[in-house]
């Protein structure tokens, strides 16, 4: 067990090194240097000259590329993401304060999608017949562009019927409400963004749940359980589900980068004050330290999620432990 864990952690460290190098190459392949990129008149006002000069010194841009690379690595490892060109605040701080908002939005989408998908898997799995065509209906669901779904949801729920708020995280006058009313207000604002973010996850999870249950249901131990008189529903819930859950664990690692990608679009449309919105504003302002900081941090979060997934897999599936022990 220890050898498996340490090997996995060493792999993750190598990948982390690769991520940082990849980001470095990405910036330095840009024509001109990253600071002069910020000086181009972007869509918002230009960055002051003093800030650019300070940044040029900080990033050692006048020195050879090898020194730039070493200093980039050193700064990244010590979690120094530099200062924003827009307001000169540390990038790390700017990102940290947006994390909770994005986290709750993603958590709501993730929980909603997985609960619905599992329920659907259980409802449709039957030890008596295998499904043939279900894959198609799910692929139709994730052919829907999420920004279009967001526009339609806004059009129907917020504009035509006016039952949910159009955008933002709280209403005007939120602070004067009672605690319970504040909670309701927040939840009402959460619904549309979470649905937009969650439906594609639901399609992915439901597809996995259905195929995974379908596969388990043909196994001998299911036949045995049926033969000893367990009801059709009981077989699915008590015997099949546990084993079908194992491959579902791997979805956790897949879901994180998808949710983060979705956050950029969803937060932008619903003006949700999280890291997706921050990323988008940084792109418009050409705030290069924040852009690179967020690119690196989201990649590291994805890496951590895949590491956790592998460890979970190790815990829930005894077969892996035995194979590793050999």
């Amino acid at each position: 067990m220890i050898s498996y864990l340490s090997r996995r952690v060493v792999h993750a460290l190598l990948t982390l090194f690769g991520i940082l190098t990849f980001a470095f190459v990405l910036i330095h392949a840009v024509p001109g240097d990253p600071v002069s990129f910020a000086a181009h008149t972007g869509r918002s006002r230009a960055v002051p000259r003093e800030v650019l000069e300070a940044a040029r010194r900080e990033y050692h841009l006048d020195e050879p590329i090898a020194i730039q690379y070493v200093s980039w690595m050193r700064r990244m490892v010590s979690l120094d993401l530099g200062r924003s060109f827009v307001d000169q605040r540390p990038v790390y701080e700017k990102i940290a304060e947006k994390v909770p908002n994005t986290f709750f939005l993603n958590l709501a989408a993730f929980l909603g999608a997985s609960v619905l998908a599992l329920a659907m898997g259980i409802a449709s799995a039957s030890p008596l017949q295998r499904s043939r065509r279900r894959g198609v209906s799910f692929s139709i669901l994730y052919s829907l562009p999420n920004f279009w779904v967001a526009l339609l949801l806004i059009e129907v729920a917020a504009v035509r019927f006016d039952i949910l708020p159009l955008y933002g995280m709280v209403s005007d006058g939120h602070d004067e409400l009672s605690t319970a009313a504040q909670l309701v207000d927040r939840l009402r604002h959460l619904i549309l963004p979470a649905v937009t973010l969650g439906y594609a996850q639901f399609a992915l999870f439901a597809r996995f749940a259905v195929t995974s249950l379908d596969e388990v249901i043909t196994k001998d131990y299911i036949v045995t359980a049926r033969a000893k008189g367990v009801s059709s529903r009981g077989v699915v819930v008590r015997h099949a589900l546990r084993n079908a859950m194992i491959p579902l664990v791997s979805l956790l690692g897949l879901a994180v980068p998808l949710l983060l990608s979705g956050s950029v679009i969803v937060e932008q449309i619903f003006q949700w004050d999280g890291i997706g919105s921050l990323y988008f504003q940084s792109l418009l302002a050409r705030d290069y330290p924040t852009i690179m900081g967020l690119t690196v941090i989201t990649a590291v979060v994805t890496l951590l999620a895949s590491l956790v997934t592998d460890l979970l897999y190790f815990l829930v599936d005894p077969r892996i432990r035995i194979e590793e022990g050999r």
Partner: protein, 292 residues
């Protein structure tokens, strides 16, 4: 060998064609391709064009007209004919979808073949590279690339192609690990063929089937991602008509002009769904457990 490959292909097509939904999806893709190819003839301000407006013909008196006899799908905020813009927008989606997929097929096949054929250090290096690329949430990476470089159709195509090859590489790698052990591979090596000849001439034809099927899913996701980038303003620069670009302006007119968000979005959805359905159809046709 060639004849059996052809027969296999014909059998695959026959099994694919048995499914009505797959046939309908394939026909829809064909229709959109023909429209995209002949867009300037179908919609333009020249006489004889079935749709008599160019995609950029501004007419302020006709702004935000609902669908009607004159403008079948209505007009946008500058009085441009939505049908004409949507027809021309199909060229962007189809070009990006097909060329980005070709690039990722090429890169993925190359890396996957090298990893599966040489194994060892080459395999380790390429597998690490795949893992690194997969760690970047794709929208973050794509937005960074299109924002750092000058946005254009080809920036989008290259960014999409160079970030989405990982699945292809994994599929090809797996197939190569399988076919490299087969007797004909041994025979080719024994008869003195060099590595490159063995890889591309002998092994690739046997390994490429699953990845070609997967390409259909690749086109769907490239079309969806391009439209998202264009919607966010980091894809195809305006005034070029693209489905995602039309939707980004529709955002400002949600309350007054329902046709602006509805039609381009519906087209993105139908086109992506058609490619996904075709992919599913081929996957089923290839999967022996689904054969009747």
């Amino acid at each position: 060998m060639k004849a059996t490959a052809l027969e296999e292909g014909a059998g695959l097509l026959a099994r694919f064609g048995r499914d009505r939904l797959s046939r309908a999806a394939a026909c829809f893709i064909l229709l959109v391709s023909v429209i995209a190819l002949f867009a300037p003839l179908i919609a333009g301000s020249h006489p004889h064009a079935p749709v008599g407006y160019g995609p950029d013909d501004i007419s302020l008196p006709d702004r935000l007209q609902p669908p009607g006899a004159k403008h079948w799908l209505g007009t946008d905020e500058l009085g441009r004919d939505l049908l004409s813009r949507v027809i021309h927008g199909s060229r962007v989606s189809m070009t990006v979808g097909s060329t980005a997929t070709l690039i990722s097929l090429f890169v993925g096949t190359l890396f996957g073949a090298l990893a599966g054929f040489y194994r060892g250090v080459v395999d380790t290096l390429i597998s690490r590279l795949i893992e690194i690329v997969l760690c970047f949430p794709f929208i973050f990476l794509l937005l960074a690339i299109t924002a750092l470089y000058r946005p254009s159709l080809w920036t989008v195509v290259l960014a999409l192609g160079l970030t989405s090859w990982t699945t292809e590489a994994r599929i090809i790698r797996g197939e190569f690990l399988r076919v490299r052990e087969m007797e004909f591979a041994e025979a080719a090596r024994a008869s003195g063929a060099g590595d490159l000849r063995v890889i591309f001439r002998h092994l690739l034809p046997h390994a490429v089937g699953p990845v070609l099927v997967f390409a259909s899913f690749g086109v769907a996701s490239a079309i969806l991602t391009e439209s998202a980038l264009s919607f966010l303003g980091f894809g195809i620069p305006l005034p070029t008509a693209s489905w995602g670009g039309i939707l980004s302006t529709a955002d400002d007119h949600l309350t007054s002009a329902w046709w602006l968000p509805l039609f381009p979005g519906l087209l993105i959805f139908l086109t992506a769904a058609a490619f996904n359905v075709v992919g599913e159809g081929f996957r089923r046709a290839l999967d022996p457990t689904f054969r009747e």
